[in-house]
Amino acid sequence: MATETESHGDEAAHGGADAAHGGAEAVGMPQLDFATFPNQIFWLVVTLVVIYLILSRVALPRIAAVLAERQGAITNDIAAAEDLKLKAEEAEAAYNQALADARAEAQKIIAEAKAEMQAELDAATAKADAEIAAKAAESEKAIAEIRAGAMQSVEEVAKATAAEIVAAMGGKSDAKAIDAAIAAQLKG
């Protein structure tokens, strides 16, 4: 039995199910093969130290720096965006202000133009009125003159007619009496 186990060598030794291989327990569970422990522990320590050095010297500071840089960039971008937004609002306000100013200016210009036109119109009207008044006065004066001339003509015609009528009647025409009589008639 024992010789058979040996002759089978490794192959049989791994058959953990067979009760005959009680001595192969360590191989059946390689984790409990204490002969390999120093080896594993040595290489584990080496590995962990190497990983620790790589991480703490290179990898972690680099990643931390990248993350911080990204955070900074994001913060900056947000601040810049706020700034731009503020500027845009200012620009809008300025635009609105300019618009309002322009409107007011336009209103002012319109009002001035209206006032100017009104003044010109008033002046023209006044001048026209004055001219009309002058012309009317002139006309009235002419009419008065004409009327006065007509009255005088009537008086002369009346005197002449009266003198002729008196002469025709055979009376002696008294110039003074005729004048007085005509003046009295005309007044009446």
Binding site: A17, Q31, D33, V45
Partner: protein, 254 residues
């Protein structure tokens, strides 16, 4: 005897494949003796772990880009994940131990994941490896607790919120649980890794039997997916427990 072997082989297929063979520590360059300095498959796969971590965390972040590449964002994700874990669990003053916990986490997660490659060797499936890490954590945390708080660290075991008569009993329980920590801490990881890989191998052995090989291959696929999850979760559990122990050392008062 010989016929028995054949019969067993046909019954279980367990003699054709040996689920535990994958865990044997072998010298890389021939020979039988495994001295403490001998380069073995442990050395090789730990070396691969270092290479993988370097590729991800150093080569991957080479660009230092504000808008990260894919690899860089994975590296940043790993960094943020562990950093937040340390900060949340251990508190603000635990952050200065972040590189140590990051080292443990990255080593375990990569060793676990690399162990899932067919024909590979899983260093974290060995109790020798996990026990050393667990003991390192245990000793560090204990020493740190005494250095920071002196005898006051013992208040960790004296639960002042419990009724006075109960306190001595609780103290005994607390002390026992404290010393069991490194044991559970290490066996949990090694056990999970070993069991999962062994189960895959067992199903692989069944795959040789034509009748049930489709089922077996399906099972391998399912277990493999589960193992991928377990690989990550165990690394996470190991790291977060380390953070919890660290918190106890930093703030022993309940």
């Amino acid at each position: 005897m010989g016929t028995d072997d054949v019969a067993t082989a046909e019954d279980e297929g367990g003699l054709v494949f040996h689920p535990m063979d994958q865990f044997i520590v072998k010298p890389l360059f021939g020979g039988d003796t495994v001295n403490w300095y001998t380069p073995t498959n442990v050395t090789l796969w730990m070396f691969f772990t270092v290479v993988a971590i370097t590729l991800l965390l150093v080569a991957g972040t080479r660009g230092r880009a504000i808008v990260p590449s894919r690899v860089q964002s994975v590296a940043e994700l790993a960094y943020g994940f562990v950093y937040k874990m340390v900060e949340d669990v251990s508190g603000k003053d635990g952050v200065k131990y972040f590189p140590y916990i990051m080292t443990l986490f990255m080593f375990i997660v990569f060793a676990n994941m690399l162990g899932l490659i067919p024909m590979s060797f899983t260093t974290t499936s060995h109790i020798a490896v996990t026990a050393v890490m667990a003991m390192a954590v245990f000793l560090t945390v204990t020493i740190l607790g005494f250095v920071l708080h002196g005898v006051g660290f013992l208040k960790l075991f004296w639960i002042s919120s419990a009724p006075l008569p109960l306190r001595p009993i609780l103290a005994v329980i607390e002390v026992i649980s404290y010393f069991v920590r490194p044991v559970s801490h290490s066996i949990r990881l090694a056990g999970n890794m070993m069991a999962g890989h062994a189960v895959i191998k067992v199903f692989a052995a069944f795959a040789a039997v034509a009748l049930i090989s489709p089922l077996s291959i399906l099972a391998i696929t399912a277990i493999y997916a589960l193992e991928t999850l377990v690989s990550f979760i165990q690394a996470y559990v190991f790291a977060i427990l380390t953070c919890v122990y660290l918190k106890d050392a930093l703030h022993p008062h309940h």
